[in-house]
Amino acid sequence: MAEIFTSAFWAEYGGILAEGVLDTVVMTAASTLFAYLIGLPMGVVSVLTQPHGIRPNGPVNAVLGWIINIGRSFPFAILMVALFPFTKLVMGTRLGLRGAILPLVVASAPFVARMVETSLSEVDAGVIEAAQSMGASTFQIVRKVYLPEAMPSLILGGSITLIAIVGYTAIAGMVGAGGLGDLAIRYGHQRNVPSVMWVTVVILVIIVQAVQSVFSRLSVRIDKRLK
């Protein structure tokens, strides 16, 4: 373990570690982006179509509910393997960043949808009603009431999503996706260089901590209910 503090260690592994960090960050960021592009509308529609929502619609709400629940209860490792053929078909490969992003998005979009749903449900029904009484359309209510009023909570949800996806990327790394998880397996397990594995663990912990504290602070700072 002590070799971690030697320059020889960093000369040998510094490059691949930096690359691993970059891959993990890119995978996480891209997957989060696409997960929100899909999950955010799902969450919004799910809230709007609830029995007491502003656009009640039983069938749509039920179908969305199933999709979100099934998606969320699928263990990521199994989901990834099950999606291999589909991933190969759509992305051209099931390996590397390209191969990892699709299963990551499929796994996290329902997660995002549920987060968004929870955040929006916290918005006071009276405020929604006030907006309706002023003649706001459904779209205006979503854009000018639901989303801004729920923003502090949405940001906290965003940090939980990011952290979950960082965890998924490590699993994806085990089956050839690249990134820190991949390094940990290849060096720690296959080549018997456990110090590389330990360094990746420390880096992952730092990433998670950083995401957590930046987002929490941001959420508090923008929340005007607390002043």
Binding site: G126, Q140, M151, K224
Partner: protein, 338 residues
């Protein structure tokens, strides 16, 4: 002046269906005149909120029609309804401000919805905040305001689209008596200045008496009585009206019919005026309390009290004029027939 701005015809509203159906409103017909302050009073569950929500169609009537400014709200398309709602805006018991927006941007909100250009909306919002006495709070967030201030912002917001009608659902019920008085004065003032018709929903007699010209008493989803406030409160002819007018459940059989009585309503005066005692000392008139339903919050009294008046007409008149001279108290003689 007396052209109806809201006409409700044979309005019925049921919730749910089958055996659990709730008949919230049954066959309601009433007109609200342009420029008046109209009160709707009733006990909890009487259907007041449902009735007011049927006026802007937040609740769709089961049957019957609601005409606002000549248009049948129930026949409008969704888009037309949204436009029409700018003419009939609403304030609420819990204010319902956007918590993440400043006061100024809260007042801008309905104008954003209506597509008013931003600079114009800001200017109008500033004027409106000034109108409700909160020009200095433009940049504050709702969480930094008192309840009374929040309701003022809500009033400014409700006026942003130049509505013809302002609906107030228990708008003062979450406020202390002093603040209640100030919000009621504001509504009265705006009604006089802007000519906006005001519909006030409340379960408090004192609110009706403070600002309303006409009142509908709602009971079990039907209109029990409808007419001038003075008229109805001095000659209540239904049980529902009597329950409101004779406070504290004063029992009728307790007193001989024909007892002369005065009904006092306290609108936020200080509690420690010993009114009944000073009546005896200053005028030499002894009265007894037939019933009372007064509350004091923060040293200020609201509510109503029913006093029996002496049989001697001179003494009675003296007592009435004495009470009339007191601040924050209104009084009227009622026939206590039971």
């Amino acid at each position: 002046m007396s052209e109806p701005i809201i006409q409700i015809q044979r309005l019925t509203k049921n919730f749910g269906g089958g055996p659990d159906e709730v008949h919230a409103l049954t066959d309601i017909s009433l007109d609200i005149r342009q420029g008046e302050i109209f009160g709707i009073i009733g006990l909890s569950g009487a259907g007041k909120s449902t009735l007011v929500r049927c006026m802007n169609l937040l609740e769709r009537p089961t049957s019957g029609t609601v005409l606002v400014d000549g248009k049948d709200m129930t026949a409008l398309s969704e888009k037309e309804l949204r436009l029409q709602r700018r003419k009939i805006t609403m304030i609420f018991q819990s204010f319902n401000l956007l918590m993440q927006r400043t006061c100024l941007r809260n007042v801008c909100f309905p104008m954003e919805i209506a597509g008013v250009p931003r600079p114009q909306a800001r200017k109008r919002a500033e004027e409106l905040l000034d109108l409700v006495g909160l020009a200095d709070k433009a940049g504050a967030y709702p969480s930094q305001l008192s309840g009374g201030q929040k309701q003022r912002v809500a009033v400014a917001r409700a006026l942003a689209t130049d509505p013809k009608v302002l609906l107030c659902d228990e708008a003062t019920s979450a406020l202390d008596p002093t603040t209640t008085v100030s919000i009621l004065e504001l509504l009265k003032d705006l009604n006089a200045k802007l000519g906006v018709t005001v519909v006030v929903i409340t379960h408090q007699m004192s609110v009706i008496e403070a600002i309303c010209s006409r009142v509908a008493i709602l009971d079990g989803g039907t209109v029990a009585e409808l007419g001038d406030v003075q008229e109805i409160f001095s000659h209540p002819s239904t049980d529902a009206a009597r329950r409101l007018v004779y406070p504290g459940g004063a029992s009728v059989s307790q007193y001989p019919s024909g007892t002369r009585a005065a009904r006092l309503s306290f609108n936020g005066g200080t509690v420690n005026q010993p009114l009944i005692a000073s009546l005896a000392i200053d005028c030499g008139v002894k009265v007894s309390i037939l019933g009372a339903d007064t509350r004091s919050v923060g040293g200020r009294a609201t509510g109503t009290m029913l006093l029996s008046l002496p049989d001697d007409p001179n003494e009675a008149a003296r007592a009435l004029s004495y009470i009339r001279s007191q601040p924050y108290v209104t009084v009227e003689e009622v026939e206590y027939r039971g």
